[in-house]
């Protein structure tokens, strides 16, 4: 899926969880992605991260990286 769109969606999710608890945000964001994004979308955002992750907010980058585990 288009990296630009997924980046925007991921950053929106990031903004919500950052406001809840910045420390816990990466894990919460990753959990949300696992629960609501299909494997293909997760693979695409991971590929985008691996390609440099342009546009991803720092917390979201950390969250996406957690999807590799």
């Amino acid at each position: 899926m288009r990296a630009e769109k997924l980046t925007m969606m991921a950053n929106q999710i990031g903004a919500f969880f950052k406001a809840q608890d910045e420390t816990a945000a990466p894990a919460a964001i990753a959990d949300h992605l696992k629960k609501f994004w299909d494997p293909g979308m997760r693979a695409d955002i991971l590929a985008h991260l691996d390609a440099g992750g342009a546009g991803l907010d720092p917390l979201v980058r950390n969250a996406v990286a957690l999807l590799k585990k």
């Binding site: 899926m1 288009r2 769109k5 925007m8 969606m9 929106q12 999710i13 903004a15 919500f16 406001a19 809840q20 949300h32 696992k34 629960k35 609501f36 994004w37 299909d38 494997p39 293909g40 979308m41």
Partner: protein, 945 residues
């Protein structure tokens, strides 16, 4: 008046708990204090004659037929207006009473057409009945005196006639319009002999403010107000109780029939959602079921450029299955999916998600609730523990402060709005938070204490500012929060909302809401007694829709307005079965009962019963499916009852997605806009033609009963079953009730639900299980479903959709009373007389700046697309805001809306689109091209061609 009669007890029931004993005609009876003698008698089986009394409205005491004698009291009081008293002895039939009643009837009949044999109400007329009851044999006054017999009929309303020559001026219609509907469109004009029922300012019914709810028709004891269908067809001979297929109120109706022909739909007095009331859609707009454009034979085609070819059901099903198998073989298991609809029954929806999960072998299933209330699911599950409104509709009778946010109940949920207006007339206060001045802000006998006309997109800022006032002014319900909520989460939330940037003054510029008004509204909600919040898609259809739902839940918890009648958080669901579609596991990430697909124990239950392994990963949501289609990963879709092309945002994007698919299957009543891109069309059945259940906005599960044979040949669940079987997955249901039995086995909140119990109880509000065998009217009474309520931080994040020099106005979209959703049903009824096309509401200042006059054709343009429609210049919208509906396919409203969506659920941001409006000479290029494509796509080949 209804032929298939329900007992009319004459006056409304008393709610008193204390009982009173009295004697009527020698029989000792005991009734609640405050009961009228008329009702007490009728409850005891004593039929006191009456005309102006009916148990849906308060007693009036005008007809003088229900007179009685009471030992020791002088005179002959009207039993409808005389309450019972302890120990009194009442006589309902004496020589004096007989004479008086017969005299009254003589007067009535002396000025009434004696055309009973040819009258539409013959056999269904209370005046006729009363003539018999009082033994009327002649009229001493004759019939030659001055009378009203030559008065002209008013046939302006498409569904009923008003024949003043048959009117007895009993005021039942006037009182029904006032008390039941709350519109006050009718009055008695003139005095004495000149008295007559008048609509509006002596206008026709159609020209008046009458909303055609049918309450007056139902209340009329004669043929004065008669359904045109009864005049055309004749009086019905049997009835079947069923559930309306329009909005989320879920009105119960009696389908009154002659054989398999529907004569009229009459609201069911025992319906617990509507208590005998209705709106113009449910009462009258069912003609689409027999509309000439309904498609009744399956059709297929290899390419959308070709005309449709009618085929047998076997061929259509076999072709569909072979295409899905081919696509999966070529592109992989995940390349197909399905979409179900909130217009379908629970059983149909459950079966579609079963088809996708078990027969397609993936979780690519979604429902149109995606584009309306999916944020409600996420928001309320996070804060309260489950995805549902907390109250029943009756709860509003106990509300002291009613908050309406992003909802327009008088248009979207009219029967519940009537209940709400009744409570407001009784003195409850109202706060409206909406960019538009909706009718509830000020209408006859209703005026909001506060209207906060926020700029579209600033809900979260407003809701958080309300919380700011509640926290900083010490208005928290400390005891409730301490006992019922997570303390750490509360502390963090309270600290957050108290920050200066969340104050009403700080957000005034962004929101456009004066700080003083916002503070006043917050104080009223927090201190005004029982506070009940009702919200709609103006809350959910935003990039922060889920956050706004959480903010609403926060407010309710902070003020202790949860867990008892009169309070709560109440999502007003747009379509008839939004709640049910969500409950049935039609979202890609969760099974029925809101259990995530990755939860091993829940998934294992389904796998064991269905004897197939299920994918433990979430599937694609509708917008994700469309994106994946454009990328070539998603190639086939089965769509039951949903017109994605008309209802989803950014039509060009949706069209491109469907054009990229190899097999689009549309299962519907008509050739929808989506069907223009379809390769298979499977004709659907209407709600009149099938069995099943709908679940309304108050979690009330109600039976939909088949009243006629399906014109397409099958109930919809049968068609899904055929498709599953053709895909190689065994399904063998014989009746929709068997599907509900399976739902009950697999879904803890439905464990106690069955058709048999629904038949016995009339309806059930889930949860229904061992702990609550007859259901749960009010949730979270003793504790939240999740244990402790959880406050969530609701930081306002402005949408990425910005106004600017090119697109300086904000468009927000919505609905109107007479039309329903995409209009596929209501456009094929006489409801078009009220709304023949979508119009664009624009403020006079914005219109003048652009040289636009009322009724002008205008171009509505956004970054995504352009369309043309007519302007309505009105100060109902604020400067800078324009508004329209999406009921008409020709408008193509969603060619303008964007793909911005809610962060948690991808629910589209329909409510905020930056646009420009300018004068126009005709349809946009997109409209012209689409119209041509649509015309070509709808061709059906002649047999043998």
């Amino acid at each position: 008046m209804t032929l298939v009669r329900e007992d009319d007890l004459g006056t409304p029931a008393s709610s008193a708990e204390q009982f009173v004993r009295l004697t009527i005609d020698g029989r000792e009876v005991s009734v609640p204090a405050g009961t009228s003698i008329l009702r007490a008698a009728r409850e005891a089986g004593i039929g006191v004659p009456k005309l102006c009394a009916t148990d849906s409205v308060k007693a009036f005491g005008s007809c003088r037929l229900c007179l009685v004698e009471i030992d020791g009291r002088a005179g002959t009081p009207a039993s409808c207006t005389t309450p019972v008293a302890a120990g009194i002895r009442v006589k309902t039939q004496t020589p004096l009473l007989k004479d008086l009643r017969r005299g009254v009837m003589e007067l009535y009949i002396s000025d009434h057409p004696l055309d009973c044999l040819t009258c539409a109400a013959n056999g269904d007329c209370e005046l006729q009945d009363m003539a018999g009851a009082v033994g009327l044999r002649d009229v001493r006054y004759g019939y030659a005196g001055e009378n009203h017999l030559v008065q002209e009929k008013d046939e302006s309303n498409p569904y009923f006639t008003f024949d003043p020559s048959k009117c007895i001026v009993c005021s039942r219609c006037v009182r029904a319009c006032e008390e039941t509907q709350g519109t006050f469109a009718l009055t008695i004009d003139g005095r004495g002999f000149a008295s007559k029922v008048s609509a509006g300012m002596s206008e026709s019914f159609l020209a008046s403010e009458c909303v055609s709810c049918g309450a007056c028709v139902q209340a009329c004891p004669t043929a004065t107000l008669s359904e045109k269908a009864v005049i055309d067809i004749g009086v019905p001979e049997h009835s079947v109780v069923t559930t309306c297929a329009y909005c989320g109120v879920g009105c119960s109706f009696k389908a009154e029939m002659r054989g398999e022909e529907l004569v009229r739909m009459v609201p069911h007095k025992d319906g617990k959602a509507n208590h005998g009331h209705s709106c113009v859609k449910g009462r009258f707009a069912w003609g689409y079921a027999t509309h000439k454009e309904r498609v009744l034979k399956p059709m297929i085609r290899a390419h959308v450029d070709e005309p449709w070819r009618e085929v047998t059901w076997d061929e259509a099903i076999a072709y569909t299955a072979s295409e899905f198998k081919r696509i999966q073989a070529k592109y992989g298991r995940l390349a197909v999916g399905g979409v179900t609809s909130s217009r379908c029954t629970n059983e149909e929806t459950f079966l579609v998600q079963k088809l996708v999960r078990a027969a397609f072998g993936n979780n690519n299933v979604d429902t149109c609730a995606r584009v309306c209330h999916s944020p409600t699911g996420y928001g309320l599950k996070t804060t309260f523990g489950t995805s549902a409104g907390t109250q029943d509709f009756d709860s509003v009778d106990h509300a002291d402060v009613i908050v309406v946010i992003g909802a327009n109940p008088t248009d979207g949920h009219p029967v519940f709005a009537s209940r709400m207006k009744k409570r407001l007339r009784e003195g409850a206060k109202l706060i409206v938070i909406d960019p538009r001045r909706i009718d509830l802000v000020r209408m006859p006998h209703v005026e909001a204490s506060f209207h906060l006309p926020l700029k579209p997109g600033t809900n979260v800022a407003i809701l958080t500012a309300l919380a700011h006032v509640i926290v900083t002014e010490g208005l928290i319900d400390e005891a409730f929060v301490r006992e019922r909520c997570e303390s750490d989460a509360f502390a963090g939330w309270a600290e957050f909302v108290a920050l200066p940037q969340n104050s009403p003054e700080a957000i005034e510029k962004a929101s456009g809401v004066p700080a003083a008004a916002l503070r006043g509204a917050a104080r009223l909600y927090a201190t005004g007694g029982n506070g009940a919040i009702y919200y709609g898609l103006g809350v959910t259809e935003h990039s922060q829709g889920t956050t706004a739902v959480m903010a609403i839940a926060n407010l309710a918890m902070a003020t202790g307005n949860i867990g008892r009648p009169g309070v709560g958080v109440n999502p007003l669901r747009g379509q008839n079965n939004v709640q049910g579609a969500c409950d049935m596991g039609s979202f890609p990430h969760e099974l029925s009962g809101y259990r995530h697909i990755s939860e091993e124990p829940a998934r294992a239950m389904f796998e064991a019963l269905w004897r197939v392994p299920l994918d433990n990963e979430p599937g694609l949501r509708i917008p994700n499916m469309l994106d994946a289609a454009i990328e070539g990963r998603f190639r086939g879709i089965y769509i039951q009852g949903e017109d994605i092309l008309q209802s989803d945002p950014n039509t060009k994007h949706v069209a491109a997605a469907f054009a990229a698919m190899e097999c689009v299957v549309v299962h519907d009543l008509f050739l929808t806009e989506t069907a223009n891109y379809a390769h298979v069309f499977l004709p659907g059945s209407t709600f009149l033609e099938k069995n099943g259940t709908f679940t309304n906005a108050e979690r009330r599960i109600q039976l939909v009963r088949k009243v006629m044979s399906p014109r397409n040949g099958f109930e919809d669940w049968e068609i899904t079953q055929k498709l599953a079987q053709a895909m190689g997955f065994a399904m063998a249901y014989h009746h929709a009730s068997e599907i509900m039995d399976e739902i009950a086995r697999l879904t803890p909140t439905f464990a106690g639900v069955s058709f048999e119990k629904l038949d016995a109880l009339g309806s059930i509000q889930w949860p229904c299980n061992e702990r609550a065998p007859e259901g749960t009217p009010v949730m979270h009474m003793d504790g939240f479903v999740r244990g402790k309520g959880r406050f969530m931080i609701t930081e306002y994040v402005a949408t990425d959709e910005k106004v600017g020099p090119r697109f300086p106005l904000l468009l927000t979209t919505g609905r109107i009373l007479s039309q329903y959703n995409i209009g596929i049903q209501t456009r094929r009824t006489a409801n078009v007389v009220w709304h023949a096309e979508d119009v664009l509401e624009i403020h006079p200042h914005d219109a003048e700046e652009r040289g636009i006059k009322d009724g002008d054709l205008v171009k509505l343009a956004s970054r995504e697309g352009e369309t043309s429609l007519r302007a309505m210049v009105t100060d109902r919208v604020a400067p800078g805001v324009v508004y329209t509906t999406f009921h008409h396919a020709s408008t193509q409203t969603n060619v303008v809306t964007t793909e911005f969506s809610d962060w948690a659920t991808n629910c589209p941001e329909y409510k905020v689109t930056a646009v420009q409006v300018s004068p126009s000479n005709g349809p946009s290029e997109w409209q012209r091209n689409y119209e041509a494509m649509s015309k070509k796509s709808r061709r059906i080949a002649v047999a043998g061609e």
